[in-house]
């Protein structure tokens, strides 16, 4: 239980922040930090609750995508068909990074995924790698100002402009 709380506090929460920022940045949406923190905190709490239910990893991800989507609609007051875009982008990039880390851990360091998800030390290191890689991706997106799909130019006010 303590492990779950620790993971949610120190890993799921920052992971949600980075995932949200990646999704929003790639859609050219700027929101203030308070809203980012609020969405990420609720998302991390949801992730924690989902982990407690011990359901399958894939279903956990789908539930998290849906909650993230609902949170963006409610907090950023975005249209539902627009809100899904940054959510899916964020999850997709996070998923790619996770796959990459798992592949490296599995093939080069020879650590099995079951160990990564069950043992706290391994989970912590694994999540730390994911976080740092995600942060690196976010920095690249920020520096290059790369935009995948501009949602801010459609005349709709999305969140608060900084």
């Amino acid at each position: 239980m303590t492990d779950f709380i620790l993971i949610s506090m120190f890993l799921s929460f920052p992971e949600a922040i980075i995932m949200l920022l990646i999704g929003l940045k790639l859609c050219s949406i700027r929101i203030n930090l308070k809203k980012v923190l609020l969405i990420s905190f609720i998302q991390a709490s949801v992730a924690f609750l989902i982990k407690l239910t011990n359901i399958n990893f894939g279903i956990q991800s789908i539930v998290q995508i849906i909650t993230f989507w609902v949170l963006i609609i409610l907090i950023l007051k975005m249209k539902s068909y627009k809100a899904i875009v940054p959510v899916l982008i964020g999850f997709f990039i996070d998923g790619i990074i996770q796959q990459l880390i798992i592949s490296i851990a599995n093939n080069f360091i020879k650590i099995d995924f079951s160990k990564l998800s069950s043992e706290f030390e391994y989970t912590f290191i694994y999540s730390l790698f994911i976080l740092s890689t995600s942060l690196f991706v976010l920095l690249i997106i920020h520096k290059t100002r790369f935009i995948f799909c501009d949602l801010s130019v459609e005349g709709e006010v999305i969140g608060e402009q900084k």
Binding site: N56, F57, G58, I59, I84, F91, G95, Q99, I102
Partner: protein
């Protein structure tokens, strides 16, 4: 109105990619086959949703292409109307100076010069005086504009309209596309020959159908003749040609009409377009 189509297409693509990643992660994470099987219903639902979205995206993409084509046709229609308006504006602008010149000649009592002057300008304004009015603003604009173009190329342009055209069921840009393409082809063909150059347009109303006949001099190549309505087939050997009649045929068939062509012994070709009139309102005589 917001363009939801692009979001539907984008979301479909992203859901597909994310779903693949999620399935991949689940396979790696699952220790037993039973646990993996338990996730299958959810994944199947996701695949079903993605498939529906894919079909919807395809439909939206088709509708987008159709809208783009319509826009192009509207643009072409607008250009025809604009050309006619410009012609009328130019001539109207000249009226004032001509009236002033006539007034001066009357004051100066230059009878012979006045007669010459009036003869000259009446010849110049023949086009306006002979403005063909067909009861349909789009057709009027197209036919008068094309008539002027044809006459400038030395082509004799005859128009015979037995009844006012009342085609309310057909989009103006699509009607414009049909007639413009056929007349443009006729002008191109007629102008390519040395001797007799003429185009004859006949519009009639037969059994609740409007019949448009566009005849012009020049015998079409028999090899192309059978395939002339296929895309890319043209009597001119040039890239990007041969789509006009293909578009015409598609538009005509969309309105349950028909198009056919025949060559005549007098070295001419006739394109006959039959378009059903929905309301049957045609009674008035064309001017």
């Amino acid at each position: 109105m917001e363009n939801k189509n692009k979001y539907i297409i984008l979301t479909t693509m992203l859901i597909q990619s994310t779903l693949l990643i999620v399935i991949n992660c689940t396979i790696i994470d699952t220790s037993t086959l039973e646990a993996l099987k338990s996730s299958m219903p959810i994944f199947n639902i996701m695949i079903l949703i993605t498939t529906v979205l894919m079909l919807l995206s395809l439909k939206k993409a088709n509708s987008f292409i159709k809208k783009e084509t319509e826009l192009e046709l509207v643009k072409s229609n607008m250009k025809n109307t604009e050309d006619l308006l410009n012609l009328l504006r130019t001539q109207r602008h000249d009226y004032l100076s001509h009236i002033q010149a006539i007034e001066s000649l009357i004051i100066l009592k230059e009878q012979e010069e006045l007669e010459e002057y009036i003869k000259g300008i009446s010849k110049e304004y023949r086009i306006t005086n002979e403005m063909i009015r067909l009861g349909n603003s789009v057709l009027t604009a197209i036919i008068n504009t094309k008539k002027e173009i044809a006459e400038k190329k030395g082509i004799v342009f005859h128009v015979r309209c037995k009844n006012k055209v009342s085609l309310h069921g057909i989009n103006s840009w699509e009607l414009s596309s049909i007639i413009s393409n056929l007349i443009e082809n006729a002008i191109e063909e007629a102008s390519s020959i040395e001797n007799e150059k003429w185009i004859k347009i006949t519009i009639s109303y037969v059994y609740n159908n409007f019949v448009f006949e566009i005849e012009n001099t020049r015998k079409i190549n028999n090899e192309i003749g059978d395939n002339i309505f296929k895309p890319g087939v043209s009597s001119k050997n040039a890239a990007g040609r041969g789509y006009g009649l293909f578009i015409v045929k598609n538009v005509v068939e969309k309105y349950n009409g028909s198009i056919e062509f025949k060559t005549t012994e007098k070295n001419s070709i006739i394109f006959k377009v039959i378009l059903p009139s929905e309301d049957g309102a045609y009674g008035e005589k064309a001017i």
